[in-house]
Amino acid sequence: MNALAAIAGQEIRAGLRNRWAVATTLLLAALALSLVLLGSTPTGTVGASPVAVVVVSLASLTIFLLPLLALLLSFDAIVGEAERGTLLLLLAYPVSRWQVVVGKFLGHASILALATVVGYGAAGVLLAITTDADAEAWATFGLLIGTSILLGMAFVALGTLASMVRERPTAAGLSVGLWLLFVLLYDSALLGLLVVDQGTLVSGRVLDALLLLNPADAYRLVNLTGAGAAALLTGMSAPGEAGQIPTAALYAALAAWIVAPLAAAIAVFNRRHP
């Protein structure tokens, strides 16, 4: 356990040292704050809670940005050590391979979680000052921060898996590919499938399953169809059968997207000769 903490701590220290943590926090805070300032204007007397408006726009932004930041942070976790020449020495210490993988994951996830909490938290503070929302709205906002951290962790895990390749450029390319696939292409492909299929083969349950196969979609469904006023705003409160996935399944999908890539990364790393 000590080795795990040492490796995670070293990653956090490195993240603070090279200003990665600060830059990420500032970026997230700036975007969240600007959404708060923009988002609070158009509501007028429509009756939608300003907090719900911010949650919806922030969730949409998070889906694009956070996976990218997570992959940028983690794609050279192992391949970077190998190319720097520090991996051999690290493995010569009394540490297990899984401790190296999980330690690096925990370090990167902590940096990202810190940036999310501070960046989005700043927006929350601004909202609290400018509006008087009810407890339910704040629960939705808290849920947004929590699930954003889970989404970030899923992509840190994917990036760690990508870092198992032999060369850094390969890992970078793989990460860009993962981002394109999960964040941009997957939903378009799904939409295309639905259009072509016209409901003959792809039933609502198949669609549900397909949505769970993408961490970004699981995140979207938790935040945009879950409890709270946000669902009303997104028009996703009744998108047919697709909205029927139980919340627990969505969380399970997010958790699986954290655990499975990490397990795969450990399996690959265990078979490798340094």
Binding site: A3, R13, T86
Partner: protein, 305 residues
């Protein structure tokens, strides 16, 4: 006593390439053993096997009686200090921070780090980023991390490469200290002439094979190699000297006032006796026993690398 390191019939292949073939080696605590060989001779492969980072394709590796690549590998590695051949560190960290990190990895108290930095002469640079260190300083930091927790086994892969003579001397002093404290030091090197007097035993590797293992004197006895003798003689007496030495010595080079001869070790005493008879003709005598370098070249002769 359990040997600190025991390799029995160890081979390691990477695909079609054989990095190490049928290696047998035992080393006990308190010994200093040099692994000698060209680049690619298998020195680093042998160290990786001892660390349990790779498994042998044949044979067994035991470190302190345990399999370093087995379930207790981490415990074995906790007793080993390793200095890798090409030293690299996270450039943004300071020397002290890096030693702290490595001490935590090893579960050793960090309080001893200041003394380690002092010992390798980095106390003044401890709070500077490693990116600003010279190659020699990085090498010394690498040595410091290998010494964390007073390990019983030290694997030093080219410990003096890139160091100036003064730093080399310090490294050898440190190795001496370690030997006296009962640690096994296994070091690899190309600098044969330099380590000859620093180590107890030599293991010569050539193309993945251990071609000779033993202390330098024993290797010399086992492998008959001529002693070289350089003589300065009075003008135009070289032929008279040669006549007297006929039968023992092979002439390598001759001139009006100098002679260079090769003599087999067993004729050495006769030769010295003969030289005594020729005292008035000879101005200067220089006798050179074959060094490790010559020994290694002799053993790998005709085997172009």
């Amino acid at each position: 006593m359990t040997p600190a390191i025991a390799l029995d019939g160890v081979s390691r292949r990477y695909g079609a390439v054989t990095a190490l073939q049928d290696a047998n080696l035992r080393a006990d605590p308190g010994e200093t053993v040099a692994l000698v060989g060209h680049n690619g001779a298998g020195k680093t492969t042998l160290m990786k096997l001892v660390l349990g980072l790779i498994r042998p394709t044949a044979g067994t590796v035991r470190v302190l009686g345990e399999d370093p690549a087995g379930r207790h590998g981490a415990r074995v590695r906790g007793r080993i200090g390793f200095l890798p051949e090409s030293v690299a560190f996270h450039a943004a960290m300071t020397g002290a921070e890096l030693l702290d990190f490595y001490a935590r990895l090893k579960g050793e108290p960090r309080a001893a780090n200041a003394e380690l930095l002092e010992r390798v002469g980095l106390a003044d640079a401890a709070s500077r980023r490693v990116g600003t260190y010279s190659k020699g300083m990085r090498q010394r930091l690498a040595l410091a991390q290998a010494l964390i927790g007073e390990p019983g086994i030290l694997l030093l892969d080219e410990p003096t490469s890139g160091l100036d003579p003064e730093s080399r001397r310090q490294v050898y002093e440190t190795i001496d200290d370690l030997r006296r404290s009962g640690a096994l030091v296994l070091l690899s090197t190309h600098a044969l002439a330099e380590i000859e007097r620093q180590v107890d035993r030599v293991a010569m590797l050539h193309r993945g094979r251990l071609i000779a293992v033993g202390d330098v004197a024993a290797l010399r006895r086992r492998i008959p190699m001529p002693v070289r003798i350089r003589l300065r003689v009075r003008h135009c007496t070289t032929q008279r000297v040669l006549d007297r030495l006929q039968g023992w010595a092979e002439t390598l080079d001759r001139g009006p006032t100098h002679l260079q001869l090769a003599v087999m070790p067993e004729c050495r005493a006769d030769l010295i006796h003969a030289l005594d008879d020729l005292r008035e003709l000879i101005d200067e005598v220089e006798i050179e026993s074959p060094g490790l370098e010559t020994l290694y070249r002799h053993l790998t002769r005709g085997d172009a690398t």
